[in-house]
C-alpha cells in the first residue's frame, strides 16, 4: 500500500484545482451556458425546471410576465359549474426555488444571429440556447366580426382566466330553454377534444339547472377527436340535448355578429343566447416576431431536438411547434419540454442528441364520473413526429360504466400529478 505524505496531498490538491480550472475553461458552454425560456406554461415552466435539475450550473432564465398561471386543462369544469378558477391557478415560485431566474417581462424581439432576446423594458438577454414556449395566440383577423371586443359578448374561453369565468357567468344567467352555441375551428388548434368535452360539461350543467335548453355545436370539420365515444356518451347521458353539425352539414361559421348574437354559417344564420366562439389559432406572438413560424402560423422544428428548422439554437416546444402527429395538449407540451431540456443539456455538454420516443394521453370528461381517453406513442423521424403504428388509440367503445368512472378518476389524478410536476 502506497503511503501518502502531506506534500503529495497538497501538491495533488493544487494540481487538481489547476486541472479543474482548465477543464472548466474547456467546457465553458457546458458549465456556465445561458438558456433563456420564453413562456411559463406547461411547456416553458417544465423545460426551465428540468434544465436546472439536469444541469444545476446552467444559467436558466424564464421570461414570463404573469405572476401566476391559469391552466386550461380542467377549465371546462369551471364552465360546467364543477370547479372554481382558483383551483386552476398556479405560481412560479417553484421555478425560482429551483434556481431559475424568473423575469416578469414580455419578450418583444429575438436576434437569432446575435443570440439575444429583447424584453419590453429594454433589457437584452444573451443566450446560448433559446427555448420558445409561447403557446397559442387567437387569430382575431380570420373570422369576420370576431375581434377582442366581440369576445366580451361571445367568449372564446380558450385562454383560461377571465374568459372562462365570463362564459360560466353567461351560462348561469341564461334562461331555461335558451340555446348555447359552440363554434369550433378547423385543425390545428389547442386541445383537439376540448370543444367536445366543453359541450359535454355544459350539457351536464344544463340538464340539471336548465333542462329545456339546447346546445348546438357548429363545427368547421367533419371528424373530431374521440368522435364515436363522445357521440355515444352524449346520447346516453343527455338524450337530444347536444346537436353536432359538421362541415358537410354547412355548419362552418363564416362570420359572427356579437351585437345581434348571431353566427352565420355556410348555410344559415343562427341566433344564440350564449355563444362560445373558439376562433382559429396560431403560434404565440413571439414565435412569429422571431421568424421561427412559417406561413401556416406555426413553427417547423427538427423533431428529436425541437430546434427550429428556420433558426439555429432556438427550440420551439408546446402548442406553438409543428409536432405533426402529436396533438397540441398540455401532456404533449410537458413531455416535449422534458425531452427538449435533456437534448439541450446534451448539446451544451458536447454530446449528440438521443433518439427518444414521446407519449401523449388526453382525458376528456363527459360528466364528472364519465371519462374517456386517447393515447399515442410517437417517434421522431427527421422533421416529423410520427405515430408509432399499433400503439395508442381511444377508450373501448363498449367499455362498461365502471371503466368510464375509473377513467374520470384517472383524469383527476393526471391533473393533480402534472400540475404538481410542473408548478409544485
Amino acid at each position: 500500500m502506497t503511503h501518502l505524505n502531506r506534500r503529495d496531498i497538497v501538491k495533488g490538491l493544487l494540481l487538481a484545482m489547476t486541472a479543474g480550472v482548465g477543464a472548466s475553461c474547456a467546457s465553458t458552454k457546458g458549465s456556465s451556458a445561458r438558456v433563456v425560456v420564453v413562456g411559463g406554461g406547461f411547456a416553458g415552466m417544465s423545460c426551465a425546471r428540468t434544465l436546472k435539475k439536469l444541469s444545476p450550473t446552467l444559467a436558466v432564465t424564464l421570461v414570463e410576465p404573469k405572476q401566476s398561471y391559469i391552466a386550461c386543462p380542467f377549465s371546462n369544469l369551471v364552465i360546467g359549474n364543477q370547479r372554481n378558477i382558483a383551483s386552476q391557478t398556479f405560481s412560479y415560485i417553484a421555478a425560482v426555488a429551483d434556481g431559475v431566474t424568473h423575469i416578469r417581462r414580455t419578450a418583444v424581439a429575438v436576434d437569432p444571429d446575435a443570440h439575444n432576446v429583447t424584453l419590453d423594458d429594454g433589457q437584452v438577454l444573451g443566450y446560448d440556447r433559446l427555448v420558445l414556449a409561447p403557446g397559442i395566440s387567437l387569430d382575431f383577423e380570420v373570422l369576420p366580426g370576431y375581434d377582442e371586443a366581440a369576445a366580451n359578448d361571445m367568449p372564446h374561453a380558450w385562454l383560461a382566466g377571465t374568459q372562462t369565468t365570463l362564459l360560466a357567468r353567461q351560462l348561469a344567467a341564461m334562461d331555461d330553454g335558451g340555446t348555447v352555441v359552440i363554434s369550433v375551428p378547423e385543425n390545428p388548434y389547442r386541445c383537439p377534444p376540448g370543444p367536445y368535452e366543453r359541450a359535454s360539461l355544459i350539457a351536464n350543467y344544463l340538464q340539471v339547472y336548465k333542462p329545456k335548453s339546447k346546445l348546438l355545436i357548429l363545427d368547421s370539420k367533419d371528424r373530431f377527436s374521440k368522435q364515436a365515444l363522445f357521440m355515444a356518451a352524449w346520447k346516453s347521458e343527455f338524450g337530444d340535448l347536444i346537436e353536432w353539425q359538421g362541415l358537410k352539414d354547412g355548419a362552418r361559421v363564416v362570420s359572427v355578429d356579437s351585437a345581434a348574437m348571431t353566427l352565420t354559417t355556410d348555410f344559415d344564420v343562427i341566433k344564440a343566447d350564449v355563444a362560445n366562439v373558439i376562433p382559429p389559432q396560431r403560434a404565440g406572438k413571439i414565435a412569429r416576431i422571431s421568424d421561427v413560424a412559417n406561413a401556416s402560423g406555426w413553427c417547423p422544428i427538427s423533431a428529436s431536438t425541437f430546434e427550429s428548422s428556420l433558426h439555429a439554437d432556438i427550440h420551439v416546444i408546446g402548442d406553438a411547434a409543428i409536432a405533426n402527429a402529436m396533438p397540441k395538449s398540455a401532456f404533449a407540451a410537458n413531455s416535449q419540454a422534458k425531452l427538449c431540456a435533456l437534448q439541450i443539456a446534451r448539446l451544451l455538454s458536447g454530446q449528440t442528441p438521443v433518439d427518444s420516443k414521446l407519449i401523449n394521453t388526453c382525458y376528456s370528461l363527459v360528466t364528472p364520473d364519465y371519462g374517456i381517453s386517447v393515447a399515442g406513442v410517437y417517434k421522431p423521424e427527421a422533421e416529423r413526429w410520427l405515430e408509432v403504428e399499433g400503439a395508442g388509440g381511444v377508450s373501448g367503445a363498449s367499455a362498461p360504466r365502471d371503466v368510464r368512472r375509473v377513467e374520470a378518476h384517472y383524469a383527476r389524478q393526471w391533473y393533480k400529478s402534472i400540475t404538481q410536476e410542473v408548478f409544485g
Partner: protein, 108 residues
Amino acid sequence: MRLLRQCLVIGFFASVLFPPVYASDLLTQASANVSACSSCHRGGMGSGGMAGSGTQVMGALNTLSAASIEEALLQFRSGEREGTVMNRLARGYSDSEIAGMAKVLASQ
C-alpha cells in the same frame, strides 16, 4: 510509482472539487424515453400502486423494482394485464426499450 501516486491524488481531489457538470446517467436514451411517465406517475401521488383494475391509483414507480415494472409493461403490452391507457402506450415499445425504461423508472 511516485507519478502514479500523484495522479491518484490529483484524480481524487479533481473528482471532489469538480464533479461532472452533467450527470450523464440522467441524459441517456432510456431517461429520455421515460420523460413523459412522470406526468402521471409522480412520487407522493400514491404508494406504488399502478393503474390496475383494483387500485385505481397512478402511483410513483420508484417504489417498485425494475423487474416488476418490466413485467408489468410486458403484460400491458401483451394484454395479459388489463389497464386503460397503459395497454395502448406499452404497445409502442420494444423489449429492449421496456427493459431500459424499467431500470430508469425504478431508480428515479
